[in-house]
């Protein structure tokens, strides 16, 4: 059985297509992150899962059960919104209790004073109270239970939103950039807490973000989305080391991956930046492709090096971040400077304007076809 399954979801707003043919399987206890640039359709997809938005075609199932015809409340999912969406006129305790009262009490039982008169209602209210306390306890917000949302800090609001989501043990958690309103330090802490929450609850988490460090640190798998399509769904390591698409390679990783225009040559060679690499692209000679490698997968050699291997270029900037030094080198075949990470020792003596050679590690070079598809290179 699986947590959340999407089959060929399509969605348009008017004439613009926002999601095209999105299919995805999220495991029952998996933490899956939807990662992509702003406006790529992540929130829309999440809201389709929740039933807050309708899709034009395709199928959504939750826990193996098709839910397309179900209303949001019947889907048994909980959602944490970017704005937290706490009810401003209710206390924290009342906010957290809402999903429980709505499910456990009938409309007439929710009327004020009924609890004072009818014993079964009083008992149920007591249960709800206990559950609210348990959730508040788990997130360490018990002292805040009587406050209104406007009296809370951003981090506290975020916890209340989490508590409201977890209090009723839903089948799946949907989170739409729940940390984007927090400051950097708090974000790192909250990240760990959410990951911990996932380990404890052992249910499906679908988490939306455009922050790749969140995605890399928290997820079992990442689904990279762009322009309404899923480009790759894989573990963080795979996404980083072995991107299936040039756009994924460029989107993930900081500094940005280095890319050079290349051409396939005969005899299993690829030419880029003025030199030939022994890489078998399997393409016909003369076909153009893109050669890419990450900053940590290359080193810098003096231009005067006798055997003359590596991309010739000139240093534009030396960026010292303490633990790492990033050297920006202007090379032929690349519009932007190629960035190479070196150790502080290795960076010693490098200076702007100096001619050098950039030597990528052959095994870590990635090749991409003009349409962005990855080409397995056989050295």
């Amino acid at each position: 059985m699986s947590g959340v399954t999407l089959r060929s979801i399509n969605k348009t707003f008017g004439a613009t297509s926002v999601l095209s043919d999105v299919s995805l399987d999220v495991g029952e206890v998996e933490f899956l992150t939807l990662l992509g640039p702003s406006g790529c359709g992540k929130s829309t997809l999440l809201r389709i899962v929740a039933g807050l938005e309708t899709h034009d075609s395709g199928e959504v199932s939750i826990g193996g059960r098709p839910v397309d015809h179900l209303r949001p409340r019947e889907r048994d999912v909980a959602m944490v919104f970017q704005s937290y969406a706490l009810y401003p006129h209710m206390t924290v305790a009342q906010n957290i209790a809402v999903p429980l009262t709505m499910r456990r009490l009938r409309p007439w039982q929710r009327l004020p004073l009924v609890g004072a008169v009818v014993r079964s209602v009083r008992e149920r209210r007591a249960e709800i109270d206990a559950d609210v306390r348990r959730a508040a306890d788990a997130l360490e917000i018990e002292p805040l239970l009587d406050r209104k949302p406007s009296q809370l800090s951003g981090g506290q609001r975020q916890r209340v939103a989490l508590a409201r989501a977890m209090v009723r043990q839903p089948r799946a958690f949907l989170m739409d950039e729940p940390l984007s309103n927090l400051d950097a330090a708090l974000r790192v802490q909250a990240r760990a807490e959410i990951a911990d929450l996932h380990r404890r609850l052992r249910t499906t988490f679908v988490y939306v973000t455009h922050d790749q460090s969140e995605a890399m640190t928290m997820s079992d798998r990442i689904a990279v989305m762009m322009g309404g399509r899923l480009l790759q769904v894989a573990s963080p390591g795979t996404i980083y080391d072995s991107p299936a698409d040039l756009r994924v390679a460029v989107f993930i990783g900081s500094p940005r991956i280095n890319t050079l225009d290349g051409i396939a040559r005969e005899g299993g060679m690829v030419e880029a930046g003025g030199i030939a690499f022994p890489l078998n692209s399997g393409l016909l000679a003369g076909a153009s492709l893109t050669v890419a490698f990450r900053a940590e997968h290359a080193d810098i050699a003096p231009a005067s090096d006798a055997n003359g291997e590596g991309l010739p270029g000139e240093i534009r900037q030396v960026e010292n971040l303490g633990a790492d030094v990033f050297v920006h080198v202007a090379c032929r075949g690349s519009a932007q400077p190629v960035i190479v990470r070196v150790t502080p020792d290795g960076g010693y003596g490098l200076a702007r304007g100096q001619p050098v050679r950039v030597r990528p590690i052959l095994a870590r070079i990635l090749l991409f076809a003009p349409d962005g598809r990855r080409i397995e290179a056989r050295p």
Binding site: G51, T54, S57, D68, H69, R71
Partner: protein, 310 residues
Amino acid sequence: MTLAAIAGTPGAENIARKTPARTEALAAYGLVAPATILLLGILVLPTVATVVLSFTDWQFGAASLNWVGADNYGALLGDEVFRKSLTNTLLYVSMVVPASVVLGLVVALLIEAGTGLRAFYRAAFFLPVTATLIAMATVWEIMLHPSIGFINLVFDAAGLGKHNWLKDPALALPTLAAIGVWQMLGLNMILFLAGLKSIPRDLHEAASIDGADGWWSRFTTVTWPMLGPSTLFVLIISSIRSFQVFDTVAVLTEGGPNKATEVLLYTMYQEGFGFFRAGYGAAITVVFLTFVLLLTLLKVRLAERRVHYS
């Protein structure tokens, strides 16, 4: 729309998928149903009925009713009282609207320009809006009393002489207009205050940094343009309200002296409910409505040009 949704999506599975959207629409229809029914039954249909009635000779209580075409309107054209009434109403509107809008804006700006006594000034200027106009008209009548009235006492003390404000044909309508301004200014002020509050503070600061640091230049670069929508709203509200002038006329002058303060609603009231000529009264109402609509549409048109393209 539900029909269209079903027609456009073949296959049972697709119909099932549309359900959330359909339940949303169904809920919406449930929620708007009371308002829609009442809107149609209490506002739209009776308004249409008024128009229909204006083409008949019906009188209250009469058993039959005859279709008379545009006869009522023809009669209106020839009716001296009605012509006077229409002119007076337009005159009244043209005095009250500019004065109450400009004063409302000035007061709002003055109140916002400083911090002292804001709440007091706001309350003082708004109080006439909340006070029962009929009751206050009675007070005004005494204040305007030819011999013992407060205003005449003040005028006399200032050497301006005493006037018979409500009985002098030249003064009666302007006097009513002044009472109208007194009563309406506060609402306009509040609406302008709301508009002023909605202007982001940074905009003023940005304007100062960009060099608009005098009071006047800041007003012309930021405040006035940002107040555009409020101004339109205030203009529309105050012209609709001043078109409806009735209370002061009914208790203070009864249209006199010599029809100098005869206004549309008062004429309509007299014809329709004084003389029970419902058809004729309806025709006056239709003219009244037409003028209100025309004036509003004209303002919206003018404002749209400026608000959007400036």
